[in-house]
Amino acid sequence: MRLDARPIAQSAGPAQFVQILADPVGSPYLRRPFSFLRVDRDAGWFEIYYDVIGPGTRRLQEARPGDAFNALGPLGRVFDPPEGHLLLVAGGVGIVPLAFLAWDHPERRLSTTLLMGANTATRLPDLDALLPADLVRHVSTDDGTTGHAGFVTDLIEQHATPTTAVLTCGPHAMMARVAQITAELSLSCYASLENHMACGFGACVGCVVEYRESDREDERYRRVCLDGPVVDAHGIVW
């Protein structure tokens, strides 16, 4: 889905997201957060890509060309990829912020590899439509209908170099497993979290994640919308 919004498109960076009011009369009531898939800063548009799972995403799906939505963003911190080889590990719509990173850093694509997992071939999104053509990708399905048979996390070791940094986004259990494997391999690992959000801009303190270490009690839980969405995967409690 493509939305014209020049101020948002011009300032959006990798890992940031936008809070969209799916229904102007408040049903559903709260905004819904979506990662940027691609932006065109000159033309002034951005694209999102989503699974339809409940009332908010159903309302978006019903949209017709020309419909207007109230969007708030860009929110969250921009993720600047570290130097060296990047391994992107995606599950489901978690591919969206990872794809944006690849779109936004064409110079990094030769040193980036994407691993994508799904339960079965029919659940895989159309990767050619979502990803830059020159981004190397490897697919896995739990049932082996395409690509590697098994979990996407099985592929991490063979595609990592000692200096690889991993960035992951997807279901909680998958990201937790990625964090564990990268810890065993002594690789740095970042996770783009998708905690449930009410405001998206730090006011409700609802979207928090627990950190392993904090200097003070009130910093044990920190806001994903403000300090993230990308966090050090080894610094949080999974």
Binding site: Y29, G206, R216, E217, D218
Partner: protein
Amino acid sequence: MDMTVDIGGGLRLRNPVLMASGTFGHGAEYQGLFDFAHIGGVVTKTITRHPRAGNPPPRTAETPSGMLNSIGLTNPGLEGFIAEKLPQLSDLPTARIVSIAGTSSEEFAEMAEALCEHGGFDAIELNISSPNMKDGGMLFGCREDSARDVTRAVKDVADLPVIVKLTPNVTDIVAIANAVEEGGADGVALINTLLGMAIDIESARPILGNVTGGLSGPAVKPVALALTWKVASAVGIPVVGMGGISNATDAIEFMIAGANAIQVGTATFVDPLAGPNTVDGIIDYCQRKEIVRVAQLTGSIALP
């Protein structure tokens, strides 16, 4: 047109719209968002004596026309607040109200005294009504004697106006309001959130990490309005009404029911400009109705 209102203890607001506790950080974070001189004031997230981590996630859940929260008073504690948050709060060009909660009357008083000694703000809101605090919190707001005692303990040491925030989770909120008035409260604020719950039927687990939480947003507005009307009819001190206020129409309803001022809470999450937009809408209404002082709205209900 005169938009000023009095909310007790000599505190006069530029206009009747305040940002509610817990829905606007500690205030200063949102300085870039709009001109603070445009709203009546801000109420900080509730401060406790010691830093608190708050409750385990998930902390929010959407419900029809509203939301549940079980944030649990995440805050940097009294010293942390005074050192890190109060300086920026003090600089805001609007009324600054600090919300506090304690586990005993003594602790409430100790905090109020320390804050008043420090200064740099305009009033204290006593949160005796949080459903998300296991030790104390709402307990004070559920009984007339403890509500009266805690109010009196704070009033004895505070040299700033004291507004007591009430919980709707009681049998008779009017009795509690009367008790805090007896305790010397300069004003009352209501309502805090209504105790609520949601369950995921696939896993049979509660959706909130804390099992129960507080309901807010448009869903609670009719309840909040009725309680505001009841309390305003019974007490002789100013009333600050809140609960589901999203726009000027909602705000004006509360004022007609008897509120001297109102607070905008959850609505800010959906529209960060809900507060200032509410002010503009009230101005438009007063102009259209040729009302010269907004305070005339308070209690102007035309009962059958």
